[in-house]
């Protein structure tokens, strides 16, 4: 009986881990890095995680969780509330539609998929914020941020994939 409870708790912890990891990434991404010029082009780790889980285990990161994560990013990051929520949902939606194509393909396809999705996300953020602030935002920082995000994706994807293989194997 007692062992049964532990097994259940263990399974629950595993199920919650994609959300927990993404949550931790949200917090890590706002830690002051003390690296010159980093703050403005810091890679969007939460976006990578949303993409990764949406491709690999969407049932463990439902749309409502993605929405809440986006709200948290907005709330902590000082962007208008709702912007990142919408961007994350778009990424999630685009991936959900293309999931059959992306699943089980070599890594570079997933990376390419991310490149396209993140480009859509960057463009969407830029348009939404420009509309919100009623001014055309300077695009260069956003382009650089996109590039650093793209460059860091394989590292995070590799870690998440290892995690998935170790703790989220389907029975």
């Amino acid at each position: 009986m007692k062992q049964d409870l532990w097994i259940k708790l263990d399974a629950l912890a595993r199920k919650c881990s994609p959300l927990a990891i993404t949550l931790v990434l949200v917090l890590i991404s706002i830690v002051p890095a003390h690296i010159p010029g980093y703050a403005r082009i810091a890679p969007l780790f939460p976006l990578m995680a949303v993409y990764h889980w949406a491709v690999n285990r969407p049932e463990l990161l439902p749309a409502i969780a993605v929405f809440m994560l986006g709200l948290l990013v907005d709330t902590l990051g000082g962007t208008p509330i709702g912007v990142n929520a919408l961007v994350f949902l778009t990424v999630y939606g685009v991936v959900a539609a293309q999931r059959r194509f992306l699943l089980g393909k070599p890594f570079w396809i997933a990376w390419l998929g991310f490149a396209l999705t993140a480009a859509v996300a960057a463009l969407q953020t830029w348009v939404l914020l420009s509309l919100f602030e009623m001014t055309l935002l300077a695009p260069e920082a956003i382009v650089f941020q996109y590039l650093t995000t793209l460059g860091c994706f394989p590292i995070l994807a590799w870690i998440l994939l290892r995690w998935q293989r170790a703790y989220l194997q389907r029975n």
Binding site: A33, H34, A39, R40, L44, L76
Partner: protein, 297 residues
Amino acid sequence: MDERTRPSYRLAAPIKSAAQRFAYAGLVVSAFALMLLAKADAVLLERVRIHVTDAVAPIMDFVSRPAAAVSEIVDQARMLADLRTENLHLREERARLVQWQTAALRMQAENADLKRILNFKPGPGARFVSARVIADTGGAYAQSLILNAGTRDGVRKGPAVVTGEGLVGRIAGVGQRSARVLLITDLNSRIPVLLEASATRAILAGDNSDQPRLMHLPPGAVVTPGERVVTSGHGGVLPPRFPVGVVASVSDGGIKVQPYVRRDRLEYVRVVDFELGGALDSEVTPRDAAGALRAAP
């Protein structure tokens, strides 16, 4: 990675998928609604933002310490490497500063004498609150910091945030134990400034780039690169004559200012609060100041 048995497909897949789609659409609409609400009623959502920030502040306070420690170690290693040049540089600087000290002491005495002659009533003193930067947020889209001090430490909305080098920004929102600083580089930052040499007034407007620009200069104003930019103190709240930066470039595209404060070096900052908070303008005469003091509750 391959697709195996999916439990969701076993039971009533079509219904479940329709429900999921419906929920997704609902969330997208909610996100839009929140953005509209943020545009229409900023106060309400700002309050939510403050509460959430407050809740996360202790975690960030904890998480940001290792990062700060690592950066300190790197700094120290770098310092060790150029100890000799640094020493030479410091000696030179010291010689220069001793001269300045003499000048400052003489001026202080002179200033005290003149104040006595004029029967000058000093303005309200400033109160300082020191705080640690626990989050650097916003990336390319917004420029703000989170501090680990809030209302319980005596921080309120509005005052300037400074370091020894210059102005960092202003307190944009404050919770019980955390506060949000809007950096001078943020798109929504507007700071009344003076060009020190020519005493020209202007507004320093952030545009999310590293170098905010000067706006609303009087017609015919001449600005040269290298000129110091200081706060004017107009509109109260901000301390007058506080260093902000130097004019970096003057072109058709605008006048760019390089701030003295380097964002990546920020760890401890000070919140400068004039106790009258906004009621007192910096350049009023002592009589006006006395009037403002009486008028204030």
